[in-house]
């Protein structure tokens, strides 16, 4: 049976977006701010893959560990230099969010300069590229499909184990719940924060390194993807990692499928409006259920418990 390429493409993109949304949600949980620079970490990952493939002529898959570590380091530097300093000064969440926007502009410019330096020094055009020829094939399907879906499943399982079974993960969750109480219990907040920022940056950069294997990439791709990430994270409820897994996958899959269906139904002009799809999702979620799937789940749970309680009461009164 031949699976249409568009479905494979959508699943690949959705897996990448899942990783990005998980990272975004983790940052929101531990630092209590939406990190607008999260998409730009993906931009760094894109250029790690580019450097491996087009500059050193090695398979970009070897660049994935490098991307993970580099993204983590950048993220830790961002935390140490800016976010940590500002939160020590007692700045509110709005100031911190504006700081992440400033970091996004700064890092975006650095990525742009890095891409331009290939043109300036090596005469190599480095924006708007695809790395498909570096991919392998497995069972007649492009390797990136297997890699993306495998990596995201493995990472989700590892994260689940980390957050529920290990001491570090539990202390992370405790920090997310209540920072002061966690520090009273003897958890080193600084270390937990640094670890979570390393993890989010690394995951974002890794997801970014997977993007150019199947999707046209340029220095601005990373900054443009942030809307989809936020929509995915918001659909999950902003404060639930498991929600972010579902949310990121749904947004990524529907972004590509809706574009395709729109083009088939309404005509090719619909493709121009692809960036609007996550925005429409975002606003619809805010209007209907601002706490996303998490809030929906809790509401259903509470309704079920109240209905069962009412049933029990009714039975008692009947007796």
């Amino acid at each position: 049976m031949e699976i249409p390429t568009i479905y494979l493409m959508a699943i690949t993109y959705a897996s990448e977006l899942t990783l990005l949304s998980i990272g975004f949600t983790l940052t929101y949980l531990t630092a209590k701010i939406p990190n607008f620079a999260h998409g730009t970490y993906a931009g760094i990952g894109i250029y790690v893959a580019y450097t491996f493939a087009k500059f050193w002529h090695i398979s970009p898959y070897y660049g994935y560990p490098v991307a993970f570590i580099l993204g983590g380091l950048v993220s830790v530097i961002v935390y140490k230099v800016v976010i940590g300093t500002l939160s020590k000064m007692g700045s509110g969440s709005i100031v911190l969010t504006i700081a992440t926007l400033a970091i996004q502009i700064f890092l975006g410019a650095l990525v742009n300069i890095y891409a331009y330096s290939f043109v300036a020094f090596y005469g190599q055009y480095a924006s708007g590229f695809l790395l498909r020829e570096w991919d392998f094939e497995f069972l007649g399907i492009a390797g990136i499909f297997w890699v993306a879906i495998g990596l995201s499943v493995v990472i989700v399982l590892i994260l689940h184990y980390l957050l529920t079974k290990t001491k570090l993960g539990i202390s992370m969750r405790a920090t997310a719940e209540d920072t002061e109480l966690a520090s009273v219990l003897g958890i080193n907040i600084q270390n937990v924060q640094i670890f979570s920022w390393f993890l989010t940056g690394g995951l974002a950069c890794l997801a970014g390194a997977m993007i150019p294997m199947w999707f046209m990439s340029s220095p601005t791709t990373g900054s443009a993807i942030i809307t989809s990430i936020m929509a995915g994270s918001l659909l999950g409820g902003f404060d639930s990692v498991y929600g972010a897994i579902i949310g990121g996958f749904t947004i990524g899959f529907s972004e590509i499928m809706f574009t395709l269906w729109g083009q088939q139904l309404l005509g090719p002009w619909f493709g121009e409006y692809r960036p609007l799809i996550p925005m429409i999702f975002l606003i619809t979620i805010l209007l209907i259920e601002p706490r996303g799937l998490q809030g929906f789940y809790e509401r259903i749970k509470s309704r079920r418990s109240t209905t069962t309680a009412m049933k029990v009461k009714k039975e008692e009164t009947d007796k």
Binding site: A102, I105, F106, G108, P275, L282
Partner: protein
């Protein structure tokens, strides 16, 4: 300031507007524009605590209202008056015949100074209305929720409005853009100068309006909302309604900047309204100058605009030192400056001062220490209470 205006008025002859004079006119123009945006932002964030990250949307609405509505109105008036225009009724001809039509309409406006001034006022009015409308719509999904949700919605809306402007050709000519009839065609001198003077005037008017509003009872209500919204709500004020009103008013005023920008360029295209330019630079002005302080915002706008315009004008000289395009250097400066100012001068160049209320010595009221020993207070009440009982008996 006054020197700039005087120079602009005096050098009303095209021959003199070149080189440094052109730079000064340019700086004055963009200072006027971004003063409007930055003052509106100060009104929203500095005083009411609403983090409006969507200045670009509000500016774009002003620009689009001119290119989509006022230009059609101009053509209609001109054709009613007997000027022969090319057919502009379907989307293709709208763009195709636009340059010729604009030239013909400009000829018509040259002889009708009053009419063209009326159209300028009308376009400002339309921009105010549409700006307020878009402020209401933007407030709808997120104003009740956390402030960060509002930021997310507004930032994404800036991109959405650009995408819509790029693809719906009748709004702003799509990727090609449309020319705008010149409402200052009657002015004999340089039209850049008169536009800059009018914009500076509007900027100063908005400065005075915002300053007066902040000293009014409503302004004090806004500041109390910023400090603690729960308290304001418990006193019986409608917190969501106040926020929405502030956002609507400031959106309308910000849209005026879009109108003046379109008339200065004589051209409208979505590409001119990058969110980096119209949102982040005003934020830098606000944070550099000092949020919550009108004079600080004024100073911040002046410093940032001078810096930016000088970079743009001396682009060629600067670009010899760098291998990459200067626009990336600007981005690095913008991001770096924002972070540096936040860390080293969190209150900005001029920190926020106490409110000036005519007739009330507010600073004395605040600084006077109220001597109440709270541990002694219950005892004092106990002492007083028996007296009251005795009185009753």
């Amino acid at each position: 300031m006054i020197g700039n205006i005087a120079l602009g008025l005096l050098s009303a002859f095209p021959a003199e507007i070149a080189g440094t004079n052109r730079l000064i006119v340019d700086i004055a123009m963009f200072f006027g524009l971004l003063l409007i945006v930055a003052m509106a932002l100060n009104f929203q964030y500095g005083n009411a605590g609403i983090p409006n990250m969507g200045c670009a949307v509000q500016v774009i609405i002003g620009a689009f209202s001119v290119s989509a509505i006022v230009v059609r109105l101009d053509f209609w008036i001109a054709s009613m008056a007997g000027v022969k225009l090319d057919d502009w009724n379907d989307p293709f001809k709208w763009i195709y015949s636009n340059p010729n039509n604009v030239i013909a309409t400009n000829e018509f406006f040259k002889n009708n100074a009053l009419l063209s001034m009326g159209i300028l006022l009308l376009s400002i009015g339309i921009a105010l209305v549409f700006g307020a409308l878009i402020g209401y719509l933007l407030a709808l999904p997120a104003i009740r929720l956390r402030a960060t949700y509002l930021m997310i919605v507004l930032i994404t809306m800036a991109d959405a409005s650009q995408i819509i402007g790029r693809n719906v050709t009748w709004i702003s000519g799509g990727t090609l853009g449309v020319f705008i009839p010149d409402v200052f065609a009657w002015y004999p001198g340089d039209r850049g100068v008169i536009t800059a003077v009018v914009t500076l005037f509007l900027g100063l008017v908005s400065f005075m309006v915002f300053r007066t509003m902040l000293n009014s009872p409503y302004g004090r209500l806004m500041r109390s909302l910023r400090e603690n919204e729960v308290t304001v709500g418990s006193v019986g004020k409608n917190v969501v309604g106040i926020r929405r009103n502030i956002l609507m008013f400031a959106s309308g005023v910000t849209a005026i900047a879009g109108v003046m920008n379109v008339y200065y360029l004589g051209f409208s295209n979505e590409g001119n309204y990058q969110r980096a330019y119209w949102t982040y630079w005003p934020w830098l002005m606000l944070i550099l100058g000092g949020p919550g302080n009108n004079a600080g915002t004024f100073l911040g706008a002046a410093v940032v605009i001078a810096l930016r315009r000088i970079i743009i004008v001396y682009k060629f000289e600067i670009s010899q030192f760098f291998f990459f395009p200067i626009s990336y250097l600007e981005d690095i400066l913008l991001g770096g400056l924002l972070v540096i100012v936040m860390i080293f001068r969190p209150n900005g160049l001029i920190p926020e001062k106490l409110l000036y209320i005519p007739g009330v010595n507010y600073s004395k009221m605040v600084k006077e220490e109220v001597k109440v020993d709270w541990r002694a207070a219950p005892k004092a009440r106990e002492k007083k209470a028996p007296k009251g009982k005795e009185g009753k008996q």
